[in-house]
Amino acid sequence: MAALETFYEVMRRQGITRRSFVKYCSLTAAALGLGPEFIPQIAHAMETKPRTPVLWLHGLECTCCSESFIRSAHPLVKDVVLSMISLDYDDTLMASAGHQAEAILDEVMEKYRGNYILAVEGNPPLNEDGMYCIIGGRPFVDQLKRVAKDAKAIISWGSCASYGCVQAAAPNPTAATPVHKVVLDKPIIKVPGCPPIAEVMTGVITYMLTFDRIPELDRQGRPKMFYSQRIHDKCYRRPHFDAGQYVEAFDDEGARKGYCLYKVGCKGPTTYNACSTTRWNDGVSFPIQSGHGCIGCSEDGFWDKGSWYARLKDVSGFGIEASADRIGMTAAGVVGAGLAVHAAISALKRARYKGDDV
């Protein structure tokens, strides 16, 4: 294997001062929710770890994951691409095309065998011999399997790669299939969302490069650091939920006061994501803050769980501290009306207490 440069060497060579480097490490620690005691550890890792090649493949998708990725504010995506990883293949951004592009895959797979990260955006369709998605004249699923073979780890970007997303919504005409059902023998980190939050994407990559390990995952394969709590749990409108103050219709008095969107269909109580904490686009807002309920886009099969505007119902089961893992055990593979939510129970109780009909 070729001698790879460390982040630190690369950053210094690119004119970044030691002082800026240390500041960068502290921002990285903060972005990952780590205390200041981790700063030296990050700095040490950056000084000694090589720049890892990343091969970013695209199947059936809409490119929203790439678009989200380039929105990252910390770190800036230009710093990720120039200084942190070596983005050797990404058909959305790469200069070369055709056989020159395909040659890169072979070269990197050979040169960095077992030492590159495969990032997948989108998913392979399996119907029609895979020819609903053709790369270089051949089915995308072939390319995916070929590149996965010698990857160190796989990142499944977004809900397409993680779960199937919109093209896999019923009746899934192309048999669009998530990555983990096609590649069975590699560690896969799912980073769901349609798309995932930019800083969550770069946070996952930064963590992997900094600590040289994949982040702790829940039973579904999602990094716990970003996907272990429901949007509802940390929503700034939660006090209105608890107080029984709801938006009854769009643009009503409650909507203008920022009341809870539960009654107009918010899926925050059943959706595991960092939207209400990390928020979107450098922390500017998130769907609920902007007045629309969460549509649950980071959940498996969210397209087939009913209208965005139908309120969550049929509540039973676990208590308030239920973890993502426990929900996974209870509800894995279950879609539709049965999803149990503590929050809706309290809503019903609250409504009953008030004597309202929910």
Partner: protein, 605 residues
């Protein structure tokens, strides 16, 4: 063999065949094959859409109020324009008039998207067809600084030291030997014509644009909660306004939020004025002798028109619609999206079938049928799952062929600008004339609009000018929004027909949008409160579609003909011209049969 197409092009597939697959730096997946003659001039071009997702059948039976989110996921690059077309189609079907504030907020969101999409397209998807980052290493930063200050005196980032810092970073990056996204580029090709100082300026702006593009989308984040894929709402917008009442601080829109929007609009205005437009003119002037790529734009262009100043008056469109045929700029024909004889789609050369021997007819979107039918022609080289050369005499693309009264048309910013210029829209006329003056001054040429616009460079220029026009229109829309709120109107959603019980048993509507890549239309049929049929006719379908039953070729194929290649092994010229359309293949190829299986309805009530 030489063929004369009915729409005036000559195809000759006898020469050497060149295959480019994957065609990178686009949204989605496509393949292009060309034949070059003994002088390496392109004489035949074959555009193949290589992906298909099937969203319309997925929509069948769903709640029309949910459709925007499904179709928004057609594309995450032009994020939001399909959602906008969808809510417009549903509101058209159900006769819902949205509040004026919602109209203005959607107007701003549409232009934010267009502006962002155009900037990211030029710098991050297209620039490397003109700009050689390796050559930038040879630049004298003082020369770059002088160039920058001469073409754009008001851009603050222009000192020699600034460009030297960028050059140093680039130098170290290249010296590392890990070239990342620049790996295997065509940097030794004689197709690149910029002097090193211009290459350094463009690479610097590649990075500046990368930094700024994440800022402008924050307007979507405020109005729609996130970007990509902000939230929309049938009947208006979800972001309620509270300027001074109780709890305004927690409301979606208040003074602080609107100030944020205003600041980003102003920043975008400065960027397109001082960086994007001057860059395109300057870079284009170095390619003054490379006036290829016009194709269909020289004759047939189409757009539906958009960006009205008056909510209910189509004639107030700031970019007016219409069709020009046969290069007759003086005769602009009206487009009626409801007329079954006008917009139609053909599948003769697409991997779909209309069944019952109807392969060669055109269908209006309200009556659209699309059954997938993947089969390769007898002339294909390779196998069904390993295509070496495709046979364009048979079906050869996942994209359909839209036509207007049987005519292939180009759509996109260039088409809109040709229409607006031909109609003498004052802002556009002044913009184009001013840009051409600057171009001619820099290049020492005397090109007219008719000569300069229908080219690859003209297509790229029109996009830049449209981006800046969008910034100007955003400024105006924001002022109108503030004036309306000042008048006491806070309404953002009309929910009078929110309940499906208020809807007619059957309804149909159409939603039109001036999407970044061209005129976009969604056609919906609603029955018993559910979607009965949903069809989208998408800009990249118009442009990238295969030949039709009569042999008319589409915009992509037409644009490549007659272009000389410096080295057919290095497809720089093919990439340059196809990228000038900003292909969006997930958009182009999402259509799916309405004959698909009935949905299992999983609805929580």
């Amino acid at each position: 063999m030489t063929v004369q197409t009915p729409n005036g092009f000559t195809l000759d597939n006898s020469g050497r065949r060149i295959v480019v697959d994957p065609l990178t730096r686009i949204e989605g997946h496509m393949r292009c094959e060309v034949n070059v003659d003994a002088d390496n001039v392109i004489r035949n071009a074959v555009s193949t859409g290589t992906m298909w997702r099937g969203l319309e059948v997925i929509l069948k039976g769903r709640d029309p109020r949910d459709a925007w989110a499904f179709v928004e996921r057609i594309c995450g690059v032009c994020t939001g324009c399909h959602a906008l077309a969808s809510v417009r189609a549903v509101e058209d079907a159900l006769d819902i008039r949205i509040p004026y504030n919602a109209f203005l907020i959607r107007q701003i969101m549409a232009k934010v998207l267009a502006w962002h999409d155009h900037v990211v397209h030029f710098y991050h998807l297209h620039a490397l067809d003109w700009v050689n980052p390796v050559n930038a290493l040879k630049a004298d930063p003082r020369a770059t600084s002088a160039l920058q200050q001469s073409i754009s005196p008001n851009h603050p980032l222009s000192s020699p030291g600034y460009f030297r810092d960028v050059q140093n970073r680039l130098k170290k990056f290249v010296e590392s030997g890990q070239l990342g996204i620049f790996k295997n580029g065509y940097w030794d090709s004689a197709a690149y014509l910029l002097p090193p100082e211009a290459d350094l300026m463009a690479v610097t702006h590649y990075l500046e644009a990368l930094d700024f593009q994440k800022e402008i989308v924050k307007i979507h984040t405020i109005f729609g909660g996130k970007n990509p894929h902000p939230n929309y709402l049938v009947g208006g917008v979800p972001c309620a306004i509270n300027m001074e009442g109780d709890m305004a601080a927690g409301a979606p829109l208040n003074m602080e939020r609107l100030n944020f929007v205003k600041q980003k609009i102003d920043e975008a205005f400065e960027f397109s004025k001082n960086v994007y437009v001057p860059d395109v003119i300057a870079i284009g002037s170095f390619y003054k002798n490379w006036l290829y790529g016009g194709g269909l734009s020289a004759t047939n262009v189409l757009d539906y028109g958009d960006y009205p100043t008056s909510q209910d008056d189509k004639s107030s469109d700031r970019l007016p619609g219409g069709v020009i045929l046969d290069g007759k700029w003086e005769e602009i024909l009206p487009v009626d999206p409801r007329n079954p004889e006008e917009v139609q789609e053909f599948v003769t050369h697409s991997w779909y079938t209309y069944g019952g021997g109807r392969e060669d007819i055109g269908l209006h979107p309200w009556d659209g049928v699309t059954d997938s039918h993947f089969e390769l022609g007898a002339g294909t080289k390779g196998t069904r799952t390993n295509i070496e050369e495709i046979d364009e005499n048979a079906k050869y693309s996942w994209v359909k062929s839209p036509r207007w009264r049987g005519n292939a048309c180009e759509v996109g910013p260039l088409s809109r600008y040709i229409l607006a210029y031909a109609k003498n829209v004052p802002y556009v006329k002044a913009q184009v004339d001013d840009a051409l003056d600057q171009f001619n001054h820099l290049a020492g040429t005397s090109l007219t609009a008719r000569q300069a616009l229908p080219t690859t460079i003209g297509r790229t220029l029109a996009r830049a000018l449209e981006a800046h026009y969008c910034a100007q229109m955003m400024v105006d829309d924001y002022d109108a929004l503030i004036a309306n709120i000042r008048n006491g109107d806070l309404a953002t959603a009309n929910v009078a027909k929110w309940d499906p019980a208020t809807w007619p048993k059957e309804a149909k509507g159409v939603g039109l949008v001036a999407a970044p890549r061209g005129g976009l239309g969604h056609w919906i049929k609603i029955r018993d409160g559910r979607i009965e049929n949903y069809q989208c006719v998408v800009p990249s379908t118009w442009n990238s579609g295969p030949r039709d039953a009569k042999g008319n070729i589409g915009a992509f194929e037409a644009s490549l003909l007659g272009t000389p290649m410096v080295n057919p092994e290095q497809p720089v010229e093919i990439l340059r011209t196809l990228h000038s359309f900003d292909p969006c293949m997930a958009c182009a190829t999402h259509v799916m049969s309405p004959d698909g299986a009935e949905l299992a309805r999983v609805t929580i009530r």
